[in-house]
Symmetry: C2
Subunit: 243 residues, 2 copies
């Protein structure tokens, strides 16, 4: 039995489309006995002798393989079975982590940011079926990491529906239209502008900075985000109702 921790770190890249969900991958060492040189989720063993708690393993991974300080980290779930790792029965505690784009610079040549959804959902299932002819084959990750990415993306989408969790992906100072684009990317759905504002402002996590950006229409308010935990909305986010 061995235990590992894997981290799915996400950012929203505002320079791709209206903001694309991206995932950090890390290249496995050339001398690794499993999947050498392959890109995978940053992960590693729990060291019984030096990690007093599971959290110590997570902190070590963040420092050594992620390199940026996430704004938020949470457990998603634990996956354990005899087949996920060729070395034997293993359990991994999957964590998701979120970072604002401005703080997400790569710290190593052995890392890259990739479009998260290309590695999730049907891609992972296709890989498991061994369908080598799919054009999605480029998105196969070692072990069960496609499945882990899927689970993490599902958790993100689910929490975007009813909580303020996505604010951890935003810049410390931002506008409501910028936040709406983050939610729309996570939910893969257009949102009604006024309904979105009502939910976000009711959390009391946004503080008016007094600054305004002048665009084509009326000035856009800049808010400072108070990172004081995750708030549950009184009403969930819904897709945009067509006229």
């Amino acid at each position: 039995m061995f235990a590992t921790v894997d981290v799915a770190l996400f950012r929203i890249n505002p320079d791709v489309g209206t903001g694309q969900l991206e995932l950090l991958l890390w290249r496995r060492k050339a001398d690794s006995d499993t999947f050498p040189n392959c890109f995978a989720l940053p992960g590693g063993y729990v060291f019984e002798n030096t990690d007093e708690q599971l959290q110590d393993t997570v902190s070590r991974l963040i420092i050594n393989k992620v390199g940026v300080e996430p704004a938020h980290i949470e457990q998603v779930c634990t996956v354990g079975n005899a087949k996920r790792d060729p070395r034997g029965w293993s359990m991994t505690v999957l964590h998701l982590a979120l970072v604002p784009f401005s703080r997400s610079a790569l710290v190593s040549d052995e890392q890259c940011w990739v479009p998260a959804r290309h590695y999730a959902n049907s891609t992972a299932q296709e890989q498991n079926k061994g369908d080598k002819n799919q054009q999605n084959n480029d998105h196969a990750l070692p072990f069960d990491h496609n499945q882990l990415v899927t689970l993490a993306v599902e958790r993100l989408s689910s929490k975007a529906l009813y909580t303020s969790q996505p604010l951890y992906l935003a810049e410390p100072t931002c506008s409501l239209p910028e936040l709406q684009r983050i939610y729309e990317e996570l939910l893969q759905n257009k949102l009604h502008k006024k309904a979105f504002r009502d939910r976000l402002l009711a959390t009391n996590l946004l503080v008016d900075t007094g600054k305004r950006i002048q665009g084509r229409g009326s000035p856009t308010v800049l808010y400072h985000i108070q990172q004081t935990g995750i708030t549950t909305f009184e009403r969930v986010m819904q897709g945009h109702k067509k006229d």
Copy 2:
């Protein structure tokens, strides 16, 4: 390193107050090398040789130590550290399970149902402080099980706020007032009758059986619950607003 699974199985006992949240405990074997004869959460080792998946460990525990078939099981979180078990570094994957009262009969003399909240919250913290003079001392569980119960009860309360999860604690055929008492016990809060009905009926999980119970006022509708998964409410449950 060793890995275990622990199960916090809950029911609502309608015969205590307006319905009390209860937890199943199981007596550890007399020849156990840790905490012999103590009552604890049903739990056990992951057997690498016979459990192909983590889920197989859970199923084995349910059969051997719980004895009833839960209506719902889900992972809560994983707790791992060097100190929680005197035998060494260990990780446990905590699960919560829910069963309707009518299906919750004990299957062994070595089991008991206890009031869940007596074993959660401040009790666990007091135990950790080693305060031996507290009258709550009777509620100390082995290992970190008080903390695990706290985490499971918190998850239950949190999900009651915005999902249909508590329906798994209800009888297959029941009335809205019965369901409201379950939610009020989980949320520890009175709910507004009409608001409660609106949220539950909007899930489309309740099917009118055509049967009615005649009480003091107008007849009460009996519904059949369709156990087809957990639905997120469009509006969260809130406490009762005072006049």
